[in-house]
């Protein structure tokens, strides 16, 4: 046990898909960046918070059989790269689907799920996963 502030610090981003946008080139980022990797110093002070829709499509995916300990109860689970409609690509599980119904290019939307927990007595971690639309 001991994961606390590290998890808490990101809760807004993980709960609500809070990314940010470069005020200089309008590119959207998730997770948030302090500086735009395209505009560099031109973007400093211009990175604006932005809540993302959670809608997007599957870039590629895998069905994970060899899982870290905390994911054993969900084995095998689908993990995908999702390209959100606003632009950023992120990594997340696809849940509630038959694994053989998942395909590249299919539309997904985000759902709020438990991601893990810090042992039986530690804090519970929540965040985004995805379901097929």
């Amino acid at each position: 046990m001991g994961e606390l502030s590290r998890i808490w610090r990101e809760s807004e981003h993980r709960y609500r898909l809070m990314g940010n946008r470069c005020g200089n080139c309008n590119r959207v980022f998730f997770p948030i960046r302090a500086v735009c990797p395209h505009c560099h110093r031109e973007s400093i002070g211009k990175m604006k918070p932005m809540e993302l829709s959670g809608r997007g499509e599957i870039v590629s995916f895998t069905i994970v059989h060899d899982t870290p300990p905390s994911f054993v109860r969900q084995r095998p689970y689908a993990l995908a790269l999702i390209k959100l409609d606003e632009g950023p690509v992120l990594t997340g599980q696809i849940v509630d689907a038959e694994n053989d119904s998942i395909e590249m290019g299919k539309r997904v939307r985000s759902v709020f799920r438990k991601i893990g927990e810090d042992g039986k007595s530690g804090i519970i971690q929540y965040g985004y996963k995805f379901v097929l639309e």
């Binding site: 709960y15 809540e51 054993v72 109860r73 969900q74 038959e98 709020f112 799920r113 438990k114 519970i124």
Partner: protein, 351 residues
């Protein structure tokens, strides 16, 4: 006067049939199905709990209400399966919705009527002008001990209502409660599964409270059963609410739309509220609803509602309807159910 300005429900996709549970425990599935009238129940996946169910239901309510999360002034969440014994579900829900820092919030417990108690509290705060909108949620991932009769019904789901004065789709004409010290069903601190008084849960508990609250409500409003288009009751199984409805003089046409337990099981704090949600999915302006919850221990909360013209302006398909969720099902067997519900214990290093 205040009423419901937004509603949303969430029912996990996984379902198990009583036949499967009966197979494992050597019971007669036919008897169970007929005895309690439950055909299937919802099961939360390992990554779902009262917090995730509450968030999903609340987000649907916000979408339908078309309000900003920052307009929500209070969040009260009733459940008997809050993930934390100490650390309110309401705090995570407020963060997930993006509510403002100034916010009234707490978790409630009153067995299966904690969510409706939250509705009453939020309504009072709206009526008194303390808040503009308030969020009341009833949500549970209820536990039944393996092999216990409760295992056939204890399920998962929840419903959120946003209550306010403006643009309400269903006015709450009145509400009242009855309360007594009746030990029909309880769970002691630290115990994983509840205990219950078997047949004692019927007459002195469920029926006395539900029927009395219903009668008092109609007496107060000067109504009779035929004045209502819909009636919905707490539904620990498929039989009790039907008997209560018939005893009061309601017909199948009035109670059928709100009766979900046969398909999703008993969602405890979510039960009556989710039944009401199913009614709101199809209700028309001017229709009247009697909604009565029951919480063991024991008490009942009764509500008299009238659907308004505003419901025609609401995009009810902005979020999943109850019938959407009843149709979207993944069946599991008892082994997967046991794994999901952590009835199979993993090694210490794993979980």
């Amino acid at each position: 006067m205040s009423g419901i300005v937004g509603y949303g429900s969430y029912i996990p996709k996984y379902r198990i049939k009583p036949d499967e549970i009966a197979r494992v425990w050597g019971e007669d599935a036919e008897n169970i199905r007929n005895g309690i009238f439950v055909l299937s129940k919802s099961v939360p996946s390992p990554d779902e709990d009262v917090i995730t169910i509450s968030v999903e239901a609340a987000r649907s309510a916000v979408k339908r209400a078309k309000i900003k999360s920052s307009d929500i002034g209070a969040i009260y969440i009733g459940s008997e399966s809050h993930p934390y014994a100490v650390k309110p579900t309401a705090t995570v829900v407020s963060a997930a919705l993006g509510c403002d820092f100034p916010l009234f919030a707490a978790d409630y417990e009153f067995a299966c009527k904690a969510g409706t108690a939250a509705m009453q509290n939020v309504k009072a705060m709206v009526d008194s002008g303390v808040i503009k909108y308030g969020l009341a949620i009833g949500s549970d991932t209820s536990q039944g001990a393996p092999g216990d009769a409760l295992e056939y019904t204890a399920s998962a789901g929840g419903t959120a209502f946003i209550i306010g004065k403006e643009r309400s789709i269903a006015e709450i004409n009145g509400t009242l409660s009855v309360t007594s010290d009746t030990p029909d069903f309880w769970r002691r601190e630290g115990q994983p599964y509840p205990s219950h008084g078997e047949r004692f849960t019927g007459e002195p508990a469920y029926f006395r409270h539900t029927l009395t609250a219903s009668r008092l409500m109609m007496e107060k409003m000067g109504t009779k059963p035929s004045d209502y288009n819909y009636a919905v009751f707490h539904q620990p199984n498929g039989k009790f609410p039907t008997r209560a409805a018939k005893t009061l003089g309601f017909t199948e046409a009035q109670y059928n739309d709100g009766l979900l337990t046969p398909y999703i099981g008993n969602t405890y704090s979510g039960a009556m509220m989710t039944g009401l949600s199913a009614i709101l999915d199809k209700a028309k302006p001017g229709e009247r609803i009697l909604a009565v919850s029951f919480g063991s221990g024991a008490g009942s909360d009764a509500f008299d509602l009238t659907v308004t013209e505003e419901i025609l302006k609401m995009d009810r398909h902005a979020a999943p309807t109850i019938s959407d969720m009843l149709a979207d099902v993944k069946w599991i067997d008892y082994a997967v159910y046991a794994k999901f519900k952590k009835k199979i214990v993993l090694g210490e290093d794993v979980e």
